[in-house]
């Protein structure tokens, strides 16, 4: 079988210590939580580390709790399985429960964490391959090479974001807390990401994603949300497209909307123009939803670096945006839903 290269494992018992180790070792050190992303990547040798710093012994990181303002706080090492099954998540943030439940398969959700999923490496079929395979294409821009084989004329890397929780939490307006050697800071979750397949995270290497804060104003009492994920099979697969929507309304009129897409860009790209097209229109205005869905397609840049034909994924961005918006608006949805079951 594929073998892990040798490395040193550290298990610090505080965030400060964790950050200090990584800051001290530089790029030769990496954090690990559940390991569902890092270990296979290290076996294939496209992520390398002399020192791996486990966060699983840091106290407090695995807490899931409501704070006084009604916000929900999810610690970085809370497993995806716990998020998915948490009653508060299920009743107050049902689309988040659905997004998290769609990640990979039950065994990996038992190990994988919310922090890990938010920081999960971008993916590409030219990159997520073994060392020998990558030698046969002379590597790629993301790791050791000089060319992005997805778009050889381009100077950037087009690996796509692979997180299912990121677009949903971005649409809900969540914030993340980053703990470094000099203490913690909190930023909007959407600002954690950059539109670059290589430098995709806007955090310093030694910073730990310690907590996600999902705001009370985004819960089911205030906001209607939906999450649609397109993939080949009913389980296991990463998204080839996901659409996360959140709508706020007053007196039957949309007052605010957020739409974020997964897997069709290097970051969980926001479809701001599409969201704006809904504001001021009645909830469930089918014409407005169709207009918005068309605008969603414009921000999707599916490339030939994952499953399915890229052009068809573009077509599907519009279809899934329309379906997700209809669902969030309480309209009937017809056609094949996620997992390819007919609905309506």
């Amino acid at each position: 079988m594929l073998r892990l290269p040798p490395f040193r494992l550290r298990t610090p018992s505080s965030l400060e210590e964790a950050a200090r180790i990584v800051a001290g070792e530089g790029p030769a050190a990496r954090f690990v939580a559940g390991g569902t992303d890092l270990w296979p990547n290290m076996k294939r040798r496209h992520q390398k580390a002399d020192t791996v710093v486990s966060l699983m012994a840091v106290p407090g990181l695995a807490e899931l709790r409501g704070d006084t303002g009604g916000n929900l706080e999810i610690g970085g090492t809370v497993t995806l399985d716990r998020v998915e099954r948490d009653e508060r998540v299920q009743t107050r943030f049902p689309a988040l429960a659905r997004a998290v439940a769609s990640i990979s398969s039950p065994p990996l959700r038992n190990m994988g964490t919310i922090g890990g999923n938010l920081c999960v490496d971008t993916r590409c079929t030219y990159y997520n391959q073994t060392e020998e395979w990558r030698r046969s294409i002379d590597y790629c821009l993301k790791e050791e090479g000089t060319v992005c084989w997805v778009a050889p004329g381009s100077s950037r890397c087009w690996a796509h974001t692979a997180s299912d929780s990121a677009p949903m939490l971005a649409a809900l307006g969540a914030r993340v807390r980053l703990a470094g050697a000099e203490g913690e800071r909190e930023i909007p979750l959407a600002d954690l990401y950059r539109d670059d397949g290589i430098d995709y995270l806007g955090k310093r290497p030694e910073e730990v994603l310690s907590r996600v804060v999902v705001p009370a104003e985004a819960d089911a009492g205030h906001c209607r949300s939906a999450f649609w994920k397109l993939r080949r099979r009913g389980s296991i697969d990463f998204a080839v497209l996901s659409v996360a929507v959140a709508l706020w309304q007053e007196h039957g009129v949309v007052t605010r909307a957020r739409i974020h897409l997964g897997a069709v860009a290097s970051w969980p790209v926001g479809a701001e123009k599409a969201a704006e097209a809904l504001v001021g229109r009645p909830v469930g205005d089918e014409e407005a939803i169709r207009e918005a869905a068309k605008l969603v397609r414009r921000v999707a840049t599916p490339m030939d670096n994952t499953d399915f034909l890229a052009q068809w994924r573009g077509v599907m961005a519009e279809r899934y945006a329309e379906s997700a918006l209809r669902e969030a608006s309480g309209l009937e949805v017809t056609g094949l839903a996620p997992n390819h079951r007919l609905v309506g």
Partner: protein, 854 residues
Amino acid sequence: MNDENRSPADAAADAADTSPSSAGRYIGAPFRRVDGRAKVTGDTRFADDLVFPRMVFVKLVRSTVPHARVGAIDFSAAREVPGYLGHLVGDDLPIPFGILPVSQDEHALALDKVRFVGDPVAAVAATTEDAATEAALAVGVEYEQLATIASLEEALATPEPRIHELERSEGNVHKAVSYRFGDLEAGLAEADLFLDDLFYYEGNTHLAMEQHACVAVPEDDDRVTLYSSTQTPHYVHRALTRVLGLPASRIRVVATSNGGGFGGKSDPFSHEMVAAKMALVLGRPVKVVLTREEVFYCHRGRHPVLMSQRTGFTKDGRITAQHLKTVLDGGAYGSYGVASTYYTGALQTVTYKLPRYAFDGVRTFTNKPPCGPKRGHGTPQPRFAWEVQLDKAAHRLGIDPAELRLRNLEEPDAVTANYLQLGTIGLRRCIEAVVEGSGWRERYGKLPEGRGLGLACGSYLCGAGLPIYWNHMPHSGVQLQLDRSGGVAVFCGETEIGQGSDSVLAALVADVLGIELGDIRLCVADTDLTPVDLGSYSSRVTLMMGNAAIQAAERARELVAQAAGDALEVPVSRLVFADRRVFDAETPADGMTFQEAVILAEARFGTLGTTGSYTPSRNPARYRGSGVGSSPTYSYSAAVLEVEVDPLTGLYRPAHVWIAHDIGRSLNPVLVMGQVEGSVYMGLGEAMMEEQVFRRLPPSRSSALVHKMPSLLEYKSPTFHDMPPVTTYLIEDPDPAGPMGAKEVGQGPLLPIMPALSNAIFDAVGARVDQVPIHPHMVLKALSAKDRRYGPRAFPEVDFGPPLHVPTPAEGGDGRAIDDPRHRRTHGIRSADGTMTTREEALRAQHAAGLTTG
């Protein structure tokens, strides 16, 4: 016919007056499989579970370029890895091998050239698997790159450079065949409707859960034992004998339980040769376990095939003639490819009356992992073409697709236009069962838009009529040893690959002797200890091993009965073997235990042992190439698949599958149903998503040609979320050729699934997809296409060579070609290892050997 060739049914008929009888408790019942408990508790020892004292590990260094001459290989960095023990290169194992005698084109490690990314170049041994991995990554190989060929179209259009320098073909064509069975033009002239279609079937791989693994153990006196996850220990034994240059008697091959095979473990492989050689060199046990990626490179899976099929029909739906042309993308080596090429044409005749038939096939070489036999070997591709075209014909003629098939059903015991001798045919009952079960008559063509039903059929061999190397010896042998313990040891070369062959073997012997499964001790798949069985391929094991087992058990029963009959003073013909007793049928209380009877027999006859063997009878064909397709009998299947399709996205979902299989007789209905459902699952994978595909990079920047996704995550195969409910019907009509009437079930039920899906999508949305896998974008494109079709649009110019003309039985033919310049009666020459060749072949082989060793 000599005695060895007599079927058990014949023997039973002759001996009915004098033979004892049996009342078994297993055959026909859903008895628990003999290896079931070990499989579910994890006790089964697969090859990777084996551990020996002082065992070391080998990793293969595989080519990172698609086509090149191999230059210097630098082991200096590998030697620095702690635990490094040594390496092998091509020159250490210079003798070529291959599964077919006509395709000895592989080397354990590249001698001069590599032909695809993943071709083995060198091997390193180290004390741990980690160290072997690091050492293998540290090996440097220089390559002088050659131009590459990525597809069957490119292979036909690119004669140079040649991937193999074959004498008997040109350019990058491996094998071309052409046949005319009867007067094709006369047949087509009778047609009122003439359909001319192109189809494409993408390649895919077996995806057995267990990755290939082996352990080679050096024994004293220059002997070596290889434990390997192989479906064909006998053929691996032959290949090792050749490559190691050791006498066969010094090499022992033991097939460990296979964690799935499906045809992917039927070839002798590089890692097996390397492990055995390294074990002999180091004097230590050597283990090799392939990674999933390496399994994709071993491949031997489904050939990508482009097909042109022209068929004539009369107004009332009778088939008048067919001309099928196939082009296969064979990958970089021969493997079973010559047989695969014939198989893309051979079985088009066995389901429906096809009075005149023309077949042209060609296999090409490309710089990709070699294709070979996967469940259905070469026949799912033309079966897809046949069953989709029948659906089209039914629509054009205004005849219900089920009715069209029923009108054309082939007759039992018929000899087809290409001289296949058929046996029983349960296809009518299969079609009736799925038509009834699915509500076809009420629902087909009448479901709302987006919902549809599709019907298709199939047929498969119950064992290849000829062995892989020409010989007159049995295809399967079983040896029994009975002793005073009352237990029976059963020795047979058969190989359990999950299909349940161990259970079938034990149950047949137990039932003939009237004893329990717990009384049977199995010793299987061990070339030192067991009589040869050719292997778990071509759906041959139940029929061939089963007949041999019955023969051996009946002979043992005869011996025990003689001793028991004398003691009981009862004629042998009145004795019954049942419930672990031997007793008088007329007064069942008069009897003794089976053990007591065996003790009497051992006292009277000495040590007790019997053998049984099976050799298929000769088929009626006498033309060159007719060996492929012949079988003792054929299984039949029919399926109806219901699908939901979203016309806005092209997404679809199979909602239900009804499938009926003509099993002859179920030896164990649960095992049979498991095979049927497994075939449905695998067929749906091929129909919906599985594809072994490759990509090039922009030629101005790179000469790479790589497997697109050699991983379990990205090579898409259905999960159980994607699996629809399946309703299975077992159609029983015992076939005289089968053991207790049984036919095969391992492969046949896969065949109808892919065309049934395409036909169902047509019923749902009125668009045709003439290729598999059917991706949703193809459905969407078909819906917007002028001809409402997605599929190949062109068929290349191909030189299939001069055709052989074989008059059909109806035309008074005798099975011979009328114009074969090479056809003459030749006597075979038997080599030291039992292989028969024609004089011409033998001279060619001697000449080739002279060239390579001189």
